[in-house]
Amino acid sequence: MHELSIAQNVIDSVLSEAKKNDAKKVLVIEVSIGELMQLDKDAFVYSLSLLRRGPMLGAAKLEVKIEKAAFSCRKCSRSWSMDETLKQLQEVEKGLLIRESDGTELPLHFLPQLYPAFVHCPDCGSSDILLKDGQSVQITKLVVE
């Protein structure tokens, strides 16, 4: 469900940008989705396709990529990927899971910036960690005519 609302925000943003640039037609919309958000890529692409209508957007080619998450510890310099993080996320209290009509989602699905609340260094346990990439949805390319 969150995929649909993000897709709507992306489309609104694309339309606003196209308008600012006096575009007649959007040709390409390229979006990257951060791995940490655990968005359903198929559902997101489907949502974008549903919302891609009208003379401005109807012919736009959609390209959606997953951006890998890369963590590192500021304290001991250990680096790790999403696989190790997923194990930690299984320990998130059930009472914090956000309810949707078809199940539940982790808080990071909505607010990935909160990762230090739930993720820690697998070696030293510090929460003072850095997430280099993979925490947001970004429009990386927009081609118009």
Binding site: M1, H2, L4, S5, N9, V10, D12, S13, S16, E17, A18, N21, A23, E93, G95, L96, L97, I98, R99, E100, S101, T104, E105, P107, F110, L111, Q113, L114, P116, A117, F118, S127, D128, S136, V137, Q138, I139, T140, K141, L142, V143, V144
Partner: protein
């Protein structure tokens, strides 16, 4: 190719859309911790909603959110096709970082805080609001600057202080910052101003010299709120419902805010 957009512009666009459905944003801040910002923000929001105004309460204290405690609200949140549903208390809708993080500390740095607050605002289904009350954290860092930036088109800043000179000197800095950022002031609330004991007033934090304080802070005092020890005993909402000195002072303050 005409543009490469970044994540901030996508979120700010979403926040702009939300703000089109919000009449007035009241930022409740101080710069100083422990002066009762969250209590005042909660009391104003509850009172506005009880008076029939469609009201939202946004807690942007990332490191020490206390609004859920005042209002007795807790996770989990619910998400619908319209976004994240604020927690309801009667007609008041409340959103806080605490609903996501629970008892986990949130040790995030710098610009990520602003990004977090912008996303929280953008993802919440506020619907149509007459008022959005925003509880700012202590300090004048990322969260406060983010709020000034997000809400600059339609916000007022309500400053909260106590009779303490230490508090008012920090509040005066906040007042200066607001001026530089062109954030209009709604006025100053002198919190914990006195205690009512029968007909007698006691001044546990000292008697404030209003003229000196207004001069020091650089803004007008629009309300004096009494100290009621029962608030710290968790009776906040009960006290607010009854006809007592505290509830009357809050109603008077809310009336002044709604007059504008």
């Amino acid at each position: 190719m005409i543009a490469v957009k970044d994540k901030a512009s996508y979120v700010f666009e979403a926040v702009r859309k939300k703000l089109n459905h919000i009449g007035d944003v009241i930022l409740v801040g101080s710069g100083k911790g422990g002066v009762g910002k969250s209590m005042i923000a909660s009391a104003i929001a509850i009172t506005l909603s009880k008076q029939g105004h469609r009201t939202g309460l946004l807690d942007i204290d990332v490191h020490g959110p206390s609004i859920p405690n005042y209002l007795g609200l807790s996770p989990p949140l619910r998400s619908t096709e319209k976004g994240l549903e604020p927690k309801r208390l009667g007609r008041l809708g409340t959103m806080s970082i605490a609903f996501f993080a629970g008892d986990n500390p949130v040790p995030i740095r710098g610009v990520e805080k602003g990004d977090l607050i912008a996303h929280l605002m953008a993802l919440t289904n506020w619907g149509e609001l007459d008022y959005l009350v925003v509880d700012l954290p202590p300090g004048m860092g990322d969260e406060v600057l983010c709020a000034f930036s997000l809400f600059s088109t339609r916000c007022r800043l309500l400053l909260v202080t106590t009779p303490s000179k230490h508090a008012s000197s920090v509040v005066s800095l906040m007042c200066k910052l607001a001026g530089r950022e062109r954030i209009p002031l709604a006025g100053v609330v002198l919190n914990m101003s006195y205690m009512q004991s029968g007909r007698r007033r006691i001044y546990p934090l000292g008697r404030a010299d209003r003229v000196r304080l207004e001069k020091a802070v650089g803004a007008k005092i629009i309300a004096e709120i009494p100290l009621d020890p029962r608030i710290s005993e968790g009776l906040f909402q009960v006290i607010l419902k009854k006809n007592n000195e505290f509830a009357r002072a809050i109603r008077d303050l809310t009336g002044k805010l709604a007059e504008v």
